[in-house]
């Protein structure tokens, strides 16, 4: 059984015990433990089940590569699935649960799948679920949905908060082991701004566990001094618990810092996403040990040899009294020595190599341990934990030579450099035959804007495993001057590549050799894929799901592609690797969102009167990022009631609309008139000072893009009103043409949208209200329709525009935004005697529809030209050019068959559903009803008390009086007569008083 040793553990503080639960059982650990070390110390060998066969799963690694130890962590608003036990720090009261089992971890129904393994081979889903087709929906999909996915989805709102941070550096060093520290020191001493990040809570990496000596002292002491030296330098930023997740173009590095993962609820942000722009990135990310593929290598108690060392040295956790070591290289012998040093038993070291020499092996032999050369594991014995191993000749087919009882197996298949960051932006790899690893090819790095290498790999991440060479490499690559720190290193013999153990294993053994522990991909599956014609490693990955689990194949990829290469009888580099993509390990959605949630999820634009509206029953409608009142609800009213009341009140007495969101762009200069004549379809240059004119803007393709009233302010300046949603877009459109096409025209623009609060004062009593405020002559004679004036109105600096979008007597008044609320309140107060009421966007929409005024976004959708909308009167025939003119002359846009704007009056007075299509006789090539038009705006008109609509109908204006049919949901057909779109006051008598 696994247990806590009586002494030792460099990372745990035995003075600070902590309690936590696993599947509801209370367990104990110490500060400094990871969930994995605490669980192992409590003899929790089996902590989950695999995805497909629900096989028992125990911790196999000690770091980010862990495929098995994934747990549900926390509760309620702090529950997170798939938390890696090996990288999650223990905290007091942690609630953990195993995943992928039902009903319990020990008694799991899904484990029956394992018995059916022969019938669930690679590509099973593809093969099985193809036929019959109807089975997919009713049989297969429900089955897959129920069995798919690890962990539960969090159901509650996340209680934590997150943030981003931008940082800049000459050099970012990723990895706080001895290579990273050496590189950071060298770069910092050269005067560079350095950021050094380490994904764990501790500096030093493997060297401090493996007893490396640097500069004549233990690595731990050297690391401490290095950190002190770096910490004292102004130009260095040090960051632990920070994982570099991805590298992007131009030295853009994303890193996720865990701030309060280990102190949940302390008020600090949970995580911080660092967005770092770096001159260059030094990746000192080390290497990951590979498992060996022998039968039963997935049974709990089989661990990586280096992980066994980590658990013993860092956390004083014994994986068991008797640990058999199986290896193809010298490094694993360090595990034997560590185990022997704490008094545990190593019954044997099984070494696949025929002959083993060298100081490490000699040291182990000298302690009386059997070193069995040319031997491997035929199979591991045990179910939910290891009970023994049966030994065979590695060169053979797996005949058992002897059985050794043991509690744990420490395996080492060699090391794979962590090349993820090197590869993210296109850095290439080469196959190092001697070391049996893919490592960065320094001649083919990811390059930056200057064409130079953007990423430099150093140390083990660069395929260098000996400590002395690691330090020299890191020092040199970082531009260090003088000598690199020196390290003592034992000589190591060469590795024997082992991809299957024993090398001649038959099918029965191969189907028990796990490559991908989490997704249950075995050697036999990859071989089957090869036999079925899969040659590309990318295709094989997806067919077998190799490397597609939450660990993204950190342990399985190299072994898998080696097996594939062998099956295809080609060398490993000919197969290559799958693509390394960010993130290195998953980062949580909260980190990506950062501060953007709740109130600050996205910018909410408020007019100066926003709070007043809120306090007076505003029912909000989003318009771009603005919120505008759709209507103002009074107690006891429904939305429709409020809208009708607002329309009637405005038509009959007086309404106020907050029109502040309308775009207001100042265009000024000697060429401004010429510019606006190009921008608008009609002529703006001839507009007299003091007058207003409605104008249309089209895209180069002729389609109507925006509309609004243009005001001539002075001889050389115009104020262009745009739609609420279009202000920024149209300003950009103007600047685009001025800066890129007509750069020599003397025109300046300024977007003054937010400078003014604008209020539409609308209705028969509008003039009375303004006259009561006083200060400006707003009479019919002094200020006729489509004119404007500037002055002081009721004590407010005001521009008054006599324009109307409702058909009523109407003034739009702009005051400085800072005075907007006061002005609005003054209008409300002074308007009481005239029956004033605020109205919202829906009343605005209805009133404009009653008048047949088009609305950008309703009558237009990017495929409509002004000519379709009966707006020919607003298109100059005289001008030689305007944006969209040539496009509108194209045959299709000039086609008389185009759908054109008409009014639609239902025969029964009902309201046609929005977007309804008018049908035509016959069917099209797809067997669908032919159509001849569609509804673009449709309302119940409170003024006329019937349904009114506008729509685009084929040759519509020529078909006045004709009745067309609109089928609606439920088979009902609405009949409507084609009429003029102007339903109300066609002569314009009401607005022109």
């Amino acid at each position: 059984m696994s247990t806590r040793l009586a002494t030792g553990g460099r990372l745990i503080d035995r003075a600070k015990p902590m309690s936590f639960t696993f599947n509801g059982r209370k367990l104990g650990g110490y500060e400094g433990d990871t969930l994995a070390s605490a669980l192992l110390a409590e003899d929790e060998m089996m902590i989950g089940r695999s995805f497909k066969y629900h096989r028992p799963r125990g911790v196999v690694a000690s770091g980010a590569e862990e495929p098995n130890g994934v747990l549900g962590l926390g509760e309620g608003g702090r529950f997170e699935p798939n938390q890696r036990a090996t990288t999650t720090e223990l905290f007091e009261g942690a609630v953990t649960r195993s995943q992928n089992h039902w009903p319990t971890l020990e008694l799991d129904v899904g484990a029956i799948n394992a018995k059916l393994a022969r019938f669930l081979p690679a590509g099973f889903y593809y093969k099985m679920f193809m036929y019959p087709r109807s089975f997919w929906k009713h049989v297969y999909e429900p089955f897959i949905r129920q069995s798919a996915g690890l962990g539960r989805v969090p159901k509650d709102r996340d209680e934590d908060r997150y943030e981003h941070t931008y940082a800049f550096a000459d050099t970012v060093v990723v990895g706080g082991g001895i290579a990273g520290l050496t590189a950071a020191l060298a770069a910092a001493k050269a005067g560079q701004r350095v950021v050094l990040i380490e994904q764990t809570a501790h500096w030093g990496g493997r060297a401090v566990v493996d007893g490396v000596e640097i500069e004549g002292e233990a690595a731990e002491a050297w690391v401490k001094k290095a950190i002190e030296a770096l910490g004292a330098m102004e130009n260095v930023t040090l960051r632990t618990r920070t994982m570099a997740s991805g590298l992007y173009d131009h030295g853009y590095l994303l890193a996720e810092e865990k701030i309060s993962d280990h102190t949940p609820g302390d008020g600090r942000p949970k995580k911080r996403l660092w967005r770092i722009r770096a001159g260059r990135i030094i990746t000192a990310t080390g290497a990951i040990e590979r498992p060996l593929s022998f039968a039963g290598n997935d049974i709990p108690g089989v661990l990586l040899a280096s992980a066994v060392r980590d658990y013993v040295v860092n956390w004083a956790v014994s994986p068991g009294d008797r640990t058999v070591i199986v290896t193809n290289n010298d490094d694993a012998y360090r595990t034997a020595l560590v185990l022997l040093d704490v008094g545990l038993v190593v019954p044997a070291v099984l070494d696949a190599r025929p002959e083993v020499k060298g100081p490490l092996a000699d040291a182990v032999r000298a302690r009386g341990v059997r070193v069995l050369e040319g031997r491997g594991i035929a199979k591991v014995k045990g179910g939910r934990r290891v009970t023994g191993v049966s030994i065979c000749a590695h060169a053979g087919e797996g005949s058992e030579i002897e059985t050794i009882a043991c509690d744990a197996v420490a395996m080492s298949g060699g090391w794979s450099p962590v090349v993820h960051l090197w590869s993210h932006c296109g850095g290439k790899l080469l196959w190092d035959e001697a070391q049996a690893m893919f490592r960065p090819d320094a001649s083919r790095p990811a390059t930056g804007a200057d064409g130079e290498a953007m990423v430099v790999a150093v140390g083990s991440a660069n395929g260098i495993l000996r400590a002395d060479e690691v330090l020299a490499d890191a020092h040199k690559a970082a531009g260090g001057t003088g000598d690199a720190p020196n390290a003592a290193a034992e000589a190591e013999g060469s590795i024997l590549p082992v991809w299957i153990m024993p090398q001649g294993a038959g099918y029965a053994l191969r189907m028990k050799m796990w490559l991908d522990y989490q997704n249950d991909v075995k050697v036999s599956d990859v071989q089957l894929a090869a036999r079925e014609g899969y040659e590309s490693v990318e295709h094989t990955k997806r067919y077998t799901t190799l490397g597609m689990a939450t660990d993204q194949g950190k342990l399985s990829n190299i072994n898998g592609l080696a097996v594939l290469s062998d099956a295809l009888h080609r060398p490993i580099p000919a197969t290559g690797t799958t693509t390394f993509r960010p993130p290195y390990t998953p980062i949580t959605m909260g980190s990506i969102a950062g501060e953007a949630r709740g109130e600050i999820f996205q910018p909410l634009r408020r007019t100066p009167m926003h709070e007043w509206h809120e306090a007076h029953g505003a029912y909000w409608e989003p318009v771009g990022l603005w919120r505008r009142p759709y209507c103002f609800m009074r107690s006891g009213e429904g939305v429709e009631d409020a809208v009708r009341r607002e329309v009637r009140n405005t038509r009959n007495s007086l309404g106020l609309l907050d029109a502040s969101t309308l775009g207001k762009i100042l265009v000024k200069g000697p060429d401004a008139g010429k510019f606006l004549d190009m921008l608008y379809t009609n002529v703006m240059s001839t507009l007299p000072v003091g007058k207003c004119r409605y104008g249309l803007m089209c895209t180069e393709n002729g389609f109507l893009t925006d509309d609004g009233v243009v005001v001539r302010i002075s001889e050389d300046s115009w104020l262009c009103h745009t739609t609420s949603g279009g202000a920024d877009r149209i300003h950009g459109h103007m600047e685009d043409w001025l800066q890129c096409e007509w750069w020599d025209w003397k025109v300046y623009t300024a977007n003054l949208t937010e400078q003014y609060a604008q209020v539409a004062v609308v209705g028969p009593n509008a003039r009375k209200l303004l006259e009561k405020l006083g200060g400006m002559d707003v009479s019919k004679d002094a200020m006729p329709f489509m004119t404007w004036a500037e002055g002081t109105l009721g004590g407010f600096r005001a521009r008054v525009f006599r324009i109307s979008f409702s058909g009523e007597l109407s003034y739009e008044i702009a005051v400085p935004a800072s005075e907007g609320l006061a002005f609005w309140e003054k209008l409300m107060e002074a308007g009481q005697e005239f029956g004033v009421m605020p109205y919202g966007t829906e009343a605005l929409h209805i009133m404009r529809a009653e008048k047949g005024f088009i609305m950008i976004g309703d009558e237009t959708d990017g495929t409509v030209i002004p000519q379709d909308l009966g707006l020919g009167w607003a298109i100059s025939k005289k001008k030689p050019d305007y944006l969209g003119k040539r496009a509108q002359e194209r045959s299709f846009l000039a086609d008389p068959e185009r759908w054109q704007l008409v009014g639609l009056e239902t025969l029964d007075g009902s309201v046609i559903p929005d977007g309804a299509y008018a049908v035509a006789p016959g069917t099209n090539a797809n067997g669908q009803r032919n159509v001849q038009g569609r509804v673009t705006s449709t309302y119940h008109s409170p003024t006329l008390d019937k349904g009114i609509a506008m729509g685009l109908v084929r040759r519509g204006p020529e078909r006045m009086g004709e009745v067309i049919e609109f089928p609606t949901d439920g088979g009902r057909v609405v009949k409507a007569r084609i009429v003029s779109p102007v339903f109300y006051d066609p002569e314009g008598e009401k607005q022109n008083v």
Binding site: I259, G267, I600, L604, G669, L752, Q755, P816
Partner: protein, 186 residues
């Protein structure tokens, strides 16, 4: 003018740094030929400041001039003087192609104060604060909206954004300045 209220009415939050709306601030957009002698003189007469170099801000008492683009300046004057300054600059530039517009009411001005003021902004703006010089004006963004900022004191930044998103920007700053979320704790 007596009715004028700034976007956030002086809202203040104290975390590890203080964020406070600065109240009404006169602001004028001036577009024109920044190399013209007439424009230089108009700016000097109105504010006491020279035309700033690229990406700089020049301050003189309660007035300042910031470089916004190759043909645009931002003139900062007391709110009450903005309208008169617009008129005087317009008059001084008569006959020259230029645009002068009062934008005092289109903006919000927020000051971020404290030893760790830069850490608040680091979370929101892609700006290299250690290299942001005294007298440098940076047009950037605060999370999802446009902003401009500069060092306005030894431990103070001034940030300008649009009025309609004042609440959003203040929300960002309040969140980013909360105690316990200091970036550098040493």
């Amino acid at each position: 003018m007596s009715n004028a209220v700034s976007a956030l009415n002086g809202e203040v939050h104290k975390g590890f740094a203080e964020v406070a709306e600065a109240g009404l601030q006169g602001m004028i957009t001036l577009r024109g030929d920044l190399s013209s002698a007439k424009l230089k003189k108009a700016v000097k007469d109105a504010t006491g400041c020279d035309v700033p170099a690229t990406r700089r801000i020049v301050m003189a008492g309660d007035k300042a001039v910031g470089w916004m683009s190759p043909d645009e300046l931002l003139l900062l004057v007391p709110y009450a003087e903005a309208a008169a300054t617009v008129a005087s600059v317009e008059a001084a530039l008569a006959g020259e192609h230029a645009l002068v517009a009062d934008v005092s009411d289109a903006r919000v001005t927020i000051r971020i104060r404290g030893e760790k003021a830069a850490e608040v902004l680091m979370k929101l703006c892609p700006v290299d604060f250690p290299s942001l010089a005294e007298g440098e004006l940076r047009r950037t963004r605060a999370a999802q909206v446009a902003a401009a900022l500069w060092r306005s004191g030894p431990e103070e930044f001034t940030l300008v954004s649009f009025r309609s998103v004042a609440g959003y920007v203040m929300g960002l700053l309040e969140h980013s300045a909360r105690s316990g979320s200091e970036i550098f704790t040493a």
